[in-house]
Amino acid sequence: MSKAIEVKNLQVSFPTPNGYSAVVRGIDLTIKPGERIAIVGESGSGKTMLGLSMLGIQPSSAKVTGEVIIGDVDMVSANDATARKLRGNYISMVFQEPLTSLNPVRTISSQLSESVRRHNKMSKAEAEDRVLEILTSVGIPAPKERMKSYPHQLSGGLRQRVMIALALINKPALVVADEPTTALDATIQAQILDLLRSGMGDAALMLITHDLAVAADVCNRIVVMYAGNIVEQGPVAEILGNPRHPYTRGLLNAIPKFDKARPPLMPIPGSPPTITEVVSGCRFASRCSYADSQCTASEPKFVDNLACFHPVVGVSQ
């Protein structure tokens, strides 16, 4: 599939005692074929819910509006049978917890070939060949033996490779990877990031992470989310070299640096608004040192890849 995947005005809300409250607040996003984008933000910024709702597997209490166009289908309005045909086939997902994301009582091979045969007319033997092929390509040693293994017999890193294999097995247009390395130790993390950078075939990648360094390492483009909105986006070099949104700048200042000067870490004061909190104006204003009366009076529109009344100028430290 050589069409871009488009997210238009996507909104995800949950019921609260005071009516529905949005955690994803009207996201517009275009992911070109083969592109690798990172969705960056703190916990609670809505990035995981964005990913889940793009596949249509958000919690059942959530209300989703807007569009997610994959090929010719809008995932939001599509009926369940149509959406199921796309899931695991045109769009797939890798989760944060490799240890629990595979069924403990079924072999690796049976879980992977189930997905292959669901979306393709294939014999058992053909499906197993495909499983072997994909396990080899994601760098699993002795893949033939591993096929017969159960998840608990594999290490966390291997299990995450299996999860990536499962996501890639039907050659999807987009893989959403939600914090895929957070649960792994540092050396394994680096290997998995390598795989995400260069082992994805033709699939585009949407990497959800709280770690700007990981985002910069793997992706071409960074999208910064705050409290359900995209506040800034751009190519990696631009975001890292010249962050314009005070929040992006705050995230960058919160990363430890190991050069000679070693400036002190600058945490962003406060925390994001909770789901029930009513905020007028810019949702970052209460934590922002540049905020003035305009910021609390109205919400800045997302124009020119930025949603801020007072973009920061000058080179990042």
């Binding site: 049978a81 695991g88 086939n89 403990p104 009582v105 189930e114 669901r118 017969k148 499962l166």
Partner: protein, 310 residues
């Protein structure tokens, strides 16, 4: 294979400890519930008779010697002669075993085919209103004692409609009411456990993974929820099996079902200690074998319990 032998061995050690505890408890109970010779001799027996019995049974020897003899008899499976009908107690108990086994298998069978589908239906979408209705009924049923169910069933089917017999051995359909009683007594618990297990699996990460790969609701239920849920249900089924084997006392008594439960109640009433002992030991052995078989089922069904193949 090695790990399997190891598991059997640890079960055997458990059995020995279990039997030792049971026999010691029985021995002590027998001694503190009064002078056993007087009990055996019965009311109004002459002192000579009591002395004769005391010497005959060895009650005149020291407690330690008595205990050792008692244990030795048990090891030889010699539980003595029933005080009521003068038959060897073990043979007498074993005669009643098939009838309890029949009732046990019938009850487990109907319990399983009723409770598992009901539990799955309940657990698949717990929030729905009609499912909440069933859930409430199940809760009420769970709190209803077996004897109430038994008496209700007898009143309805044996007294009002006179379509089913209420006494064992009176016709081909005598098994229906006791089986129904046990099924109604056991299934609410099983339904709830199955429903809870199903609900729990739907919250698991692997369930979400399957969903993210386009599995349909029926595939999700049958392949990603049910097998995992049944795994945790099996142990309850095993416990219910053991409960039934130990004689569903009240049910067997109400329906005069000639099983272990009935003879246990009768032998306690008659203070027929040899028969009590024999019954308790037969049940202990049966429960041991049920657990042994359960172990093997778990090993077969849950790869995490098999020896690592890496």
């Amino acid at each position: 294979m090695k790990s399997r032998l190891k598991a059997v061995r640890s079960r055997l050690i458990q059995l020995i400890v279990l039997l030792g505890t049971i026999s010691t408890t029985l021995f002590l109970l027998l001694r503190i519930s009064g002078d056993p010779a007087v009990l055996i001799a019965g009311e109004g027996a002459s002192p000579e008779t009591i002395d004769a019995i005391r010497a005959d049974y060895g009650f005149d020897r020291s407690l330690i010697v008595q205990y050792l003899i008692f244990i030795w008899d048990i090891i030889r499976l010699d539980f003595g002669v029933s005080l009521v009908n003068a038959q060897p107690a073990l043979g007498f108990v074993l005669d009643y075993l098939p009838s309890t086994l029949t009732l046990t298998f019938l009850a487990i069978f109907f319990n399983t085919i009723l409770a598992i589908p009901a539990g799955v239906w309940l657990g698949a979408k717990p929030g729905q209103r009609r499912r909440r209705v069933l859930s409430t009924i199940v809760s009420v049923a769970q709190g209803t004692p077996a004897y109430v169910i038994a008496l209700l069933l007898i009143q309805i089917f044996a007294v009002w409609f006179t379509v089913l017999p209420s006494i064992a051995g009176t016709g081909t359909w005598a098994w229906v009411l006791p089986t129904a009683t046990l099924t109604f007594a056991l299934s609410p618990n099983l339904i709830r456990v199955v429903a809870a297990s199903i609900e729990e699996t739907t919250a698991q990460d692997y369930f979400r993974t399957a969903k993210a790969n386009g599995a349909s609701p029926s595939v999700l239920l049958m392949k990603h929820s049910l097998p995992n849920a049944l795994l945790s249900t099996t142990s309850l089924l095993g416990a219910q099996f053991a409960f039934l084997l130990s004689g569903a006392l009240i049910t067997e008594f109400i329906f005069a079902w000639p099983g272990l439960g009935l003879i246990l109640v009768q032998s306690i009433t008659n203070l027929d200690f040899p028969t009590i002992q024999a019954t308790v030991f037969v049940v202990a052995y049966l429960v041991f074998f049920v657990n042994l078989i359960l172990d093997q089922i778990f090993r077969f069904a849950d790869p995490r319990l098999r020896k690592s193949q890496v």
